[in-house]
Symmetry: C2
Subunit: 700 residues, 2 copies
């Protein structure tokens, strides 16, 4: 299938047939009413073999009886008849379908078989099908609405493209967009994605000139690598993707070795992937649409420094609280700004950021606009936040209101910085408000402080990160790693450490000692105190069997430890590993595990309680470069320790990030053989960075 | 002032005079229109000495010219004339006033003086004044609306009482309540609280039969102890208080000694106080009104186990995610419930909790109600959550819709468990929806999954905690603590420890050694290893000056350490303190500091990175009992360590809580002399609990 052409055609048919149309079906009634009511310009043919008239119009017996081969067929026949409709359509050269009918993959093994048949048929005949088990789409840009649930008027055109892995929620999203005054380009309810996938539709929206922002409701991401590819395309095209991905509460399905597995939950991987791809992840349907609407109306925002203009002290303080949550700044105004504001403010006001021009706006309705003009010229801010609700109730004489908003619109247009307008609380944009906006060109009003600040925070972060996010990092260019011996089973410390050391990862010095004399000789070379560890094949948890001895200060200590370890390990032992004992520094956990969907995932965290009790870790999908690793380290709650809190020497973060990036590169180089690789701990002491212990698990 | 009577009268006047009424003022126009439009039954007199007619009605020259002494005067005269109006009113025996006029305490020193005069005059003449610098109130219960900003109709009566320390936000709260279909009993915009305070109004609402829930917007809590008293009264009366308290982002103003000060930020104290008082703290205006509306409509909720009924898989999963956030449970349905649901569900559905009855509701509109009936009978759930939006658009024939909702209303009323109805997204409850509710009695619909789940979570927690919260714990009944010596300055370890030990707090054994021989003798008695610490007056940070020596294993070690400490401390030294060295266990920080507003505050946390880097601590206003301390310990992120994570022995939490409660009792007993008391660390090793070090700072 050439998805691009097929999908573009799917959403822009010149004629539509509804097969299975009947007065008895709510879906049929809705779809027909939607096409008629919202301005679809082409013919709509109704097909039903058992009746002459449907929805008050002539019904045709079959697709073959239509006067022309239509561009799109909307299929509502019973499940067993769906494939017959596609067969007939394919014979007639019809390429695009929406299948509303359910009873496919969502119902069990038999339905899955039926869906596989459908998919294969469409592939073989180059058919583009949305569904099955989906309500269709709403193309507001070209007024094409083959969609099975009611679309209450008005259908607002705009530049937000919405893709939903849900039927019922599409109605909620549609209603919410309408009452927020947020216009859509396209809304699709995906159904089972038997042929056209979420990824295909995003791909289309990236190229769609009517769309500037993409909003997603996702239950699952079926082909992560494809998804990542189109997400990067969107980023390159400057079109933000905002996503509500559910299933946060799902437990991690992964049970990898050691600690890393517990850190790499499915949802944490999604979080990491979205961050790397520059996708704005939101938590609610409200945030999904409000954030997309903000980005569609105001585009990227130049920076985090807000100048806030409000008529309310209480609201100013709510905004200050929310700004802190979102990492936004409210810098003090410049002296000149303060002086100019003081001139226009009532005596009892204070010219500070956030600005409360006071209830005096009841007396002087231009006060807010005049303050806005001054604040917008402050050199220390990036964005003006104007707190102002549109009126809900039309007064007997609306003309003065229109003039007020015309004046504000002009001031906002002339402002040297973007002015984002936010309402106090999340209430509908009513008819009178919409009339004001249509008459005066007054900009989009973001829905309430609570969700508005979340949206501004997200927009600022997206704007900041769009350069660094989403780069298709080249895979490793290093030569293939040296692997000595068959890559199977579990490689415990001595073999794992040797592999790391040989491939450019610094490892604490160590010597394998076959007997007591060799152990003492090694200890003398390193200097006391030393550590002795069991060296044995397939030994995962050395500590549990007494295979690690710390703080050995003399030849006698070393001899005794060697004997005891040999006795504990038994015949599996190869001897002991002698290492100098390190004191001080900070221990990290660095692990790579394989995610079934996204591939190799890197986890970094601080050792001890940080990962074991707090699960404090940062994840990245591989590949990553050192700059990305530094960002990951910065996300740790314990990051302050690396910077030298509690009297520790600050870690050389650049060197640390380089070592960890090298671990990632090595893991990639090990390729399909690798199941997981964990360094625990990686010791950082200023600029000295050394793996003290490691464990590699191979897939076979 | 007898606040209760005065405030009750303030809100229920039989006649009102507006002094300073003028056609030139928006406030005057609004107030007069509000009184006329919303059904105030008594006379409204307009007073203006400079004109005959105001707002199209006769104007009187002064209060004295009125045909009767009114019950309430609404004052809008210029600032310097306000007190004259009160004087005239007082002479006429008028007791109740709203002062809209600004220019008082909010403007600076001169205004503060003017406000103090006003306060004193009112106290002397027993006048009840709301304001100054406030818009007045809206008593929806008795249709009395002396309020200076527009009140768009309809004014919905209900049982939520709203108190706001903000003028402008009152309009937002009013608008939001209206569009959510949430009726109010009383709304007051407090102004400067020169006479009537937030606390007075809450006190009134606790007794007000029209009010069942109290919603607060707070900028500051002026008299915390009074506030706590009325909050406890509300709890005892079964009336939840929901509060949006701003200033979260404010920095802690406290700089107490040692670590405790950094943990006890102003906002953290508010959080602790609210939790102890059973006040539901919310983060947004939306949550404030939605949570209050839920509690007003549905009352307390019996437990956290939700049975969820929806027509949407996507929405079900959003609900599951949000339930986890809120600590709510979605238990599996009982077998019988599954069997009954399977009978009515379409083949492709799945009878699990959360339940998605599927899009088949488009075909069978009774499916949701029938599923609801079955789920409501499941024995394993406490509350049913029905996801259902009211329709926005009136169809040409609304009668079938009314019948559908009549049927649902009956089913919900008959359900053996509470059924909370939640909409998908936060959109206004429109006219048709309100008509449905008025016609059929269909219950309140909570505004959207995002805010609705927050509200359900809050309601469940309030219902659970109402028994334990808010108890007026008796202050210490223990005899006054023994304090040896004048309570001044800083008491470092040896004196602080002695005070603790003498007053029932377990302390590690210690002996004060004046010379080397005494130190060795003490060490021999304790057994090695021991610790030596400097014992000196006013020595806060021993470690910094080399005043602590650990791990002393022999008489030689002890002698050397004693000499070195004496040398380091110099003439201030009294000798050294010898203690047995403890190994293992978990270190806690237990501190008490004085908050200027709330009094003594207890902070508990785990030692090391937990408090220093993570600021992981739990606060309580004193007094507390051991049960409350246990709850506080359970709030720590590191609580798992106390329960035995990472191989440590589980702490005896009951014993630990008892010791910490004893510290709190001791701090209370020390009374006004105490500035702060800190035990750092308190070592817990199973059931052995000992203070290893302590510091007391006296106020003088």
């Amino acid at each position: 299938m050439t998805a691009g052409d097929g999908v573009r055609g799917l959403f822009a048919p010149a004629s539509i047939a509804m097969v299975g149309a009947t007065d008895k079906s709510g879906w049929s009634l809705n779809t027909f009413a939607n096409l008629r009511r919202h301005g679809f310009g082409g013919p709509v043919y109704l097909v039903n073999p058992r009746t002459e008239v449907v929805h008050g119009e002539r019904a045709y017996r079959s697709l073959s009886d239509l006067p022309e081969p239509v561009d799109l067929v909307y299929v509502m026949v019973p499940t067993p008849a769906v494939l017959d409709v596609l067969r007939e359509g394919a014979r007639l050269g019809i390429r695009h379908y929406v299948v509303l009918t359910a009873g496919f993959g969502e119902t069990g093994p038999e339905g899955r078989k039926r869906e596989e048949e459908l998919t294969a048929f469409c592939r073989d005949h180059d058919l583009t099908v949305l569904g099955p088990n989906g309500n269709g789409f709403i193309n507001a840009a070209n007024a094409t609405t083959p969609y099975g649930l009611p679309i209450p008027p008005p259908l607002l055109r705009g530049s937000v493209g919405v893709v939903l892995q849900s039927g019922a929620l599409a109605s909620s999203v549609l209603a919410f967009s309408q009452v927020r005054g947020i216009g859509l380009s396209l809304l699709t309810s995906m159904g089972n994605e038997a042929v056209v996938s979420v990824t295909d539709v995003i791909d289309h929206l990236v190229d769609d000139p009517a769309t500037s922002v993409i909003a997603l409701f996702l239950e699952s991401i079926r082909r992560p690598r494809e998804f990542a590819r189109v997400a990067r395309r969107a980023l390159a095209a400057g079109k933000p993707i905002v996503a509500l991905k559910i299933g946060r509460s799902g437990l991690a399905s992964r049970t990898a070795q050691a600690h890393t597995g517990a850190l790499v939950g499915d949802d944490a991987v999604i979080d990491a992937a979205f961050r790397q791809l520059g996708i704005v992840r939101v938590r609610s349907l409200e945030d999904l649409i409000i954030t997309a609407g903000l980005l569609a109306a105001y585009g990227p925002l130049p920076g985090p420094r807000l100048g806030v203009v409000t008529p309310s002290g209480g609201a100013s303080e709510i905004i200050a609280d929310r700004a802190e949550d979102e990492g936004l700044e409210l810098p003090p105004f410049a002296d000149r700004t303060v002086a100019r504001l003081t001139e226009i403010m009532p005596d009892f006001g204070s010219a500070a950021n956030p600005l409360d021009v006071t209830g005096y706006v009841v007396v002087d309705r231009t006060l807010l606009s005049r303050a806005l003009r001054i604040v917008a010229e402050d050199p220390g801010i990036d964005v003006v936040l104007l707190l102002s609700d549109l009126p809900r109730i039309e007064p007997p004489d609306p003309e003065p209101v229109f003039r007020l908003y015309e004046n504000s619109t002009r001031l906002i247009a002339e402002a040297p910085r973007p002015v984002v307008i936010v309402g106090n609380v999340l209430t509908d944009v009513g008819d009178f408000a919409r009339t004001i906006q249509e008459r005066t060109g007054y900009p989009h009003v973001v829905g309430g402080i609570e969700h508005g600040m979340a949206a501004i925070g997200a927009a600022v972060r997206w704007s900041r990160d769009r350069e660094s996010a989403g780069r298709t990092r080249a895979g490793s260019t290093a030569p293939a790693p040296v692997v000595r011996g068959p890559a199977t089973g579990v490689w415990a410390e001595h073999r794992a450490a040797a592999l790391l050391a040989e491939n450019g990862v610094p490892v604490v010095p160590a010597e394998l000692a076959a007997d007591e004399e060799a152990a003492v000789a090694a200890a003398e070379r390193f200097g006391y105190p030393v550590v002795l560890k069991a060296a044995a094949e397939g030994l995962g948890h050395k500590t549990d069997i007494g295979g690690v001895r710390l703080g050995l200060n003399s030849p006698g200590d070393v001899r005794r430890a060697h004997r005891e370890i040999r006795a504990a390990v038994g015949s599996a032992g190869l001897g002991t590993l002698v290492q100098p004992q390190r004191a001080g520094g900070i221990e990290l956990l660095v692990g790579v595990v394989r995610d079934a969907e996204w591939g190799l995932v890197l986890a970094v965290g601080l050792g001890g309680v940080w990962v074991e009790v707090l699960k404090d870790s940062a994840l990245r999908i591989l590949p990553v470069d050192a700059a990305e690793v530094r960002r990951a380290l910065g996300e740790l709650r314990g990051a302050k320790l690396l910077e030298g809190a509690r009297g520790t020497e600050p870690a050389d973060l650049d060197a640390l990030a380089t070592v960890i990036a090298r671990v990632g590169e090595l893991a990639e180089g090990l390729g399909d053989d690798l199941e997981s690789l964990e360094i625990n701990p990686l010791l950082v002491d200023g600029a000295r960075i050394e793996a003290l212990d490691a464990l590699i698990t191979w897939r076979t």
